[in-house]
């Protein structure tokens, strides 16, 4: 049984193929990281799950939530799902909160809609949730407006808001990226604590390898709209097989001494995707075949999959 199942998802946006044949699934209690750099299609993938793609996007493939296909639901049903069973948090937490409503009231409102609790009970729960998110003196902070909150605090409040409806799946789009580095670690640890040992599933979109390392059980590595590598986070991060993953992980530290490590060249622009492997131009292992044919994702029996003509598991 899976919470989320994405099968053969492709998205065309403004005439460009920004997501190509992406498949993955998330089981209850798992925390999946979608790791990618700019233009990798990771955000578009997340937006397709919550049905928030910009107008004019063409989608192919299937997305199922708890074995129910989203494509076959009415937009009303999908909207209900989005507010309840599927919740989402964003990078800019301050902007994601309503600026004119007290934080506590926003959380209580979501909680009441999902449980039908009394106003008083909902408020108590809101304060409780803020406390669980590590906000000091939650009873007082619940009366604050979003602009009183720092970025890190706002992200915690947004998490409380997202979890108020007891979702079975949380989708988090770069939730720590706007924060100071010293605050990022704390928020990552918080999210980890909220999910570890629970049946809630998490899909986190990130460009930051360390977030995946600290937080995720599974990872999907995307590049130029394509899945390059996928599998258990430990496997992928410690024994990366795809040349892109290897060199991406290698460039994180910038090289501890001497020559800085990086991947030469640039990711292809969305309007100029090559016919073959999108990484071919930057790859040190490139062969003729890579330029004409796209590699398919090939899994071993550990669930570790790699899309590469040259490296095989």
């Amino acid at each position: 049984m899976t919470v989320l199942d994405v099968a053969g998802l492709s998205v065309r946006l403004g005439g460009n193929d920004v997501v190509n044949d992406v498949s993955f699934s998330v089981a209850p209690g798992r925390r999946l990281g979608i790791l990618g750099e700019s233009g990798s299609g990771k955000t578009v993938t997340a937006l397709s799950i919550v049905d928030m793609l910009p107008d004019g996007a063409e989608t192919r493939g299937e997305i199922s939530f708890e074995n129910r296909q989203l494509n076959s639901m009415s937009s009303h049903e999908r909207r209900r799902l989005r507010g309840g069973s599927i919740a989402m948090v964003f990078q800019d937490a301050v902007a994601a909160l309503n600026p004119v409503i007290r934080i506590g009231d926003q959380i209580a409102d979501v909680y009441r809609r999902h449980t039908g609790a009394t106003k008083r009970a909902a408020h108590t729960r809101a304060v409780e949730l803020l406390g669980e998110m590590g906000i000091p003196v939650p009873a007082e902070r619940a009366r604050d407006y979003p602009h009183h909150f720092s970025g890190g605090m706002a992200q915690r409040a947004l998490l409380a808001l997202a979890l108020a409806g007891s979702p079975r799946l949380l989708i988090a789009d770069e939730p720590t990226s706007g924060l100071d580095t010293t605050v990022q670690a704390a928020v990552v640890d918080l999210i980890r604590g909220l999910f570890q040992g629970s049946q809630r599933a998490l899909v986190i979109i990130t460009h930051d390898v360390s977030v995946v390392e600290r937080l995720c059980t599974d990872v999907v590595v995307m590049y130029a709209g394509m899945v390059m590598e996928a599998g258990p986070a430990r496997e992928v991060l410690h024994q990366p097989a795809n040349p892109y993953t290897q060199r991406l992980l290698g460039s994180v530290e910038l090289g501890a001494s001497g020559k800085p490590a990086y991947i030469p060249g640039y990711a292809p622009q969305p309007w100029a995707l090559p016919q073959g492997c999108p990484f071919a131009d930057r790859c040190h292992l490139v062969e003729d075949r890579c330029r004409v044919e796209r590699p398919a994702l090939d899994f071993d029996d550990q669930g570790h999959g790699v899309a590469c003509h040259v490296v095989r598991l």
Binding site: G29, R30, T182, S210, P232, Y262, Q269
Partner: protein, 269 residues
């Protein structure tokens, strides 16, 4: 003209009638030498960006001196020579270029402090692009039509158009993809070597600091809390905030090591 010296810099933002004044930078002094990189480390609100804007004289300091050679340029009209000598590379390259202008127009615009004919400018632009590893095909594009890494290279080329002796680098890599940060670090190092630039690197990422800096100053809430030779500060930080910054990128000395992934994945239903 070989040292950019800042002495006792202070900047107070007046909060207006209703609010309290904010001391953004207090008693900040430093020297930037050519061929040398000084890293100014701090997170949002620490005052590092204000220091950058003050040194570029895009803000005027409340007190203190900014000297290039003998001349104090901290108040009044900024001499053209100073403008030429000190340039900046911004954090987010996409914000650093006017979205309504082509890259070519923006680059031409960078030569306004130098009296060149259009032809001379075009020749020098070609040279600059070449030195940052790009070619003329980017000139006709708008900023959104090139990648972030390419645009940051163009940002560096633009800063070099005035033939500066000093560059302020305001988080030059933190808006870029992980896989290309090293490219920019390397390009900056090469550029520094070839032109003998003095660099003031503003960053909160200790990995970038380790890769580039000779000396380090750590700022916290507007004041410098630690300074010293880079190797020393990174290996043996004396201030707890410096330690936190190192821990954040797994460069701490074990006290708060990066948590590893779960020892065994939780069983899925």
């Amino acid at each position: 003209m070989s040292v950019l010296a800042v002495d006792g810099l202070r900047k107070v933002f007046s909060g207006g009638r209703a609010r309290k004044d904010v001391v953004a930078v207090d008693d900040f002094s430093c020297e930037v030498h050519r061929h040398h990189t000084l890293a100014l480390v701090g997170e949002s609100g620490s005052g590092t960006t204000t220091v950058a804007l003050l040194i570029l004289r895009l803000l005027s300091p409340t007190a203190g001196a900014i000297r290039l050679g003998q001349e104090d340029v901290s108040q009044g009209r900024v001499p053209v020579e100073y403008r030429r000598a000190v340039q900046i590379v911004f954090q987010n390259p996409l914000g650093a270029f006017n979205p309504r202008l082509t890259i070519g127009t923006s680059l031409h615009d960078a030569f306004r402090l130098r009296d060149l004919t259009r032809k001379e400018r075009a020749a020098e632009i070609a040279e600059l692009l070449d030195s940052v590893g790009l070619d003329g095909t980017v000139l006709g594009r708008y900023p959104t039509q090139v990648s972030g890494g390419q645009l940051q290279r163009i940002g560096i080329a633009r800063a070099l158009a005035t033939r500066p002796s000093f560059l302020v680098l305001d988080e030059p890599t933190s808006a870029l993809d992980m896989s290309i940060r090293g490219q920019i670090v390397e390009l900056l190092a090469t550029t520094q070597r070839e032109r003998g630039l003095g660099l003031l690197l503003i960053s909160h990422d200790m990995r970038v600091v380790r890769a580039m800096a000779d000396t380090v100053m750590v700022m916290y809430r507007g004041t410098v809390v630690e300074e010293g030779e880079a190797g020393q500060v990174l290996a043996k930080p004396s201030h707890s905030y410096t330690q936190d910054l190192l821990d954040a990128v797994g460069m701490g000395n074990g006290a708060h090591a990066t948590p590893q992934p779960d020892p065994k994945p939780e069983t899925s239903l």
